[in-house]
Structure formats: structure tokens, C-alpha cells
């Protein structure tokens, strides 16, 4: 099939639209490598296809952009995590036990067990505070009682 036949066959259009079969895709790719004229025509055809779809473009609502933004951030965070897992152990040991992670926000992440641990420490601190105050006032009351008894004994003597 020569270049003109290929252009008129519509295979190039079906290729650009994703409708071409595997054989047709290979044929177009091979022909484009061999024939710069065909490659130039495909570039021209791309512009025609884009013009058609640009003419039918519709602006989506602003909310959609926000969702895409959030999903892409989430996706990137997951990919970063995978990259860390692929680092060989030897390399980690050479660099030290900690990974240098550059983050763009001011938040930190801690293990979920820190939550109950923090709650337990908080409750214990309150118990010890109350107990300390109780025994402080109790001992000061006892001291006053001892002083009172001592003066009473001295008066009796």
C-alpha cells in the first residue's frame, strides 16, 4: 500500500481515534518511520481531529477540578510510598536508619497506637495529680492536728 492509498484508506483516522487493529497500528507506525511525508500528514491530520473535538468542547463544573486535584495528590502520595519500599536495605543502612523525606505541608503522621498511649498517659497524669493533691492536704491537716495535740499536752503539763 503506497502513501496515498494509506491516506485515503482511513486507517490513519482510525489509528488516531483508537479504532485500529494491532496489524493496522503496526503498519501505520512502520510507514511513518519510513515515510516523512506520511508523518507530516499524520501531524496535519492530528490538528484536524483536535479542531473537531475542540469545537465540541464543554467546560466542566469547577467542583470536578477540585476532585481531580485531590485524587491526583492522593495518587502521588501512594506512589511516593511505593518508591520508598523499593529502596534496597543495604542502601538504607548506608544512609542511616532514617529516610530523608521532604514534605510540603506542616502535618506529621504518627502510628495509630500513639492515640491510646496518649489517652492513658493523660488519664494517669490526672490520677497522680489528684492523688498528690489529696495526700498533700491530708498530710498538712495531720501536721496541724499534731501541732494542736502537742500544744494541748504542753498545756496539760
Amino acid at each position: 500500500m503506497n502513501t496515498q492509498d494509506l491516506i485515503k484508506s482511513g486507517i490513519l483516522e482510525s489509528y488516531l481515534l483508537g479504532l485500529a487493529s494491532r496489524e493496522e497500528q503496526e503498519l501505520v507506525q512502520q510507514k511513518m518511520l519510513d515515510d516523512p511525508e506520511l508523518a507530516a500528514y499524520v501531524t496535519h491530520l492530528e490538528n484536524d481531529v483536535l479542531s473537531y473535538f475542540d469545537a465540541n468542547a464543554v467546560s466542566p463544573p469547577q467542583d470536578v477540578r477540585e476532585i481531580v486535584h485531590l485524587r491526583s495528590r492522593k495518587g502521588n502520595a501512594q506512589k511516593r510510598k511505593h518508591v520508598f519500599n523499593r529502596i534496597p536495605k543495604e542502601e538504607n543502612y548506608n544512609k542511616g536508619p532514617y529516610l530523608e523525606v521532604e514534605v510540603s505541608d506542616t502535618y506529621i503522621k504518627v502510628h495509630k497506637y500513639w492515640r491510646p498511649a496518649f489517652i492513658i498517659v493523660f488519664i494517669l497524669s490526672k490520677i497522680f495529680l489528684i492523688a498528690g493533691l489529696y495526700y498533700y492536704f491530708k498530710s498538712s491537716g495531720q501536721e496541724q492536728e499534731i501541732l494542736r495535740l502537742k500544744t494541748q499536752i504542753q498545756q496539760q503539763k
Binding site: 482510525s14 481515534l17 479504532l19 497500528q25 483536535l50 479542531s51 465540541n56 467546560s59 502521588n76
Partner: protein
Amino acid sequence: MNELEQINRNTGQSFMNSPAGKLTSLEIYDKYGAMAYGIILQIIPQPHLAQEVLISVFSSPLLQSCNSYPFTFAVCIIKLARAKAVEAKRKLAGASSPALDIRSDAAENSPQQVFDLAFRQGFSPEEVAEKLNISKPEVLRSLHAFFKSNRDA
């Protein structure tokens, strides 16, 4: 496996994490979001469903493959938007093959009708040929004629 998936398998690089010169998914959205939404609406006319498909297009890992695509980014987005919209339309239909919905404004076997069946309704060129009782080369030539008439218009 479609063409985009093949490219994605062959290239392990991720353009989203890579340095300057590569577009982020949000930049791609800003540039091609309206075009992709227009394509999806042609296939799925319900706006809320079309918006869901649009989000899936721009958060798809297949978007990475457009970076190594031999043609322009926009052509890759067109293919991806169509593939996702057709997939969603088929899921909605709940059947293995989509229902035939030939537009009344298109003349019988016209390039417009062939484009409508092949691109908007997700039929392969072989299926379009079978439905319209024409040969596959005729279907492909109609696609050529469709874009030629748009260019000349």
C-alpha cells in the same frame, strides 16, 4: 489490553512525579478537561455520569502513558476519554454489546453515521460494517471522509 495500556507497560516512568517539563494531572486537566468532557458528553449525555467518567480519566494511571505516546498529548486524551466513556456506557447498559442508537439526523451509511457508531457508540469497525452491511474498508474510508468534510467545512 488496549494501546494505551501497552505503552504504559513498556514505560515504567511516572511523569507525575518527575521534574519540570512533564505535566501534572491538574495541568493536563486545565488544558484538555473541556475537550475530554465534550467527548464524554457525546458518548454519555447525562452530565453527572459524564463528570464521574471525566474524573476517572484524569485520575487514571493510564494518563501516564500519554507522556510516552508517539503523538500529541491531546490525541492520547481523546482515546482515553472515549475508552473510559464507552466502558461506562457499556456498564450502564448492563449488556455485553451496546444498544444500537443510530442518530436520526444522519443519512444512511453517511460518514457522520459511521463516525457516530464507531466513536460515540463504541462499536469496532468490523461491527459497524456488519450493522450497516458494508465492508470494513468502506467504514474506514467513511472516517476519512468525515474528517475531510469537517476540514473543508
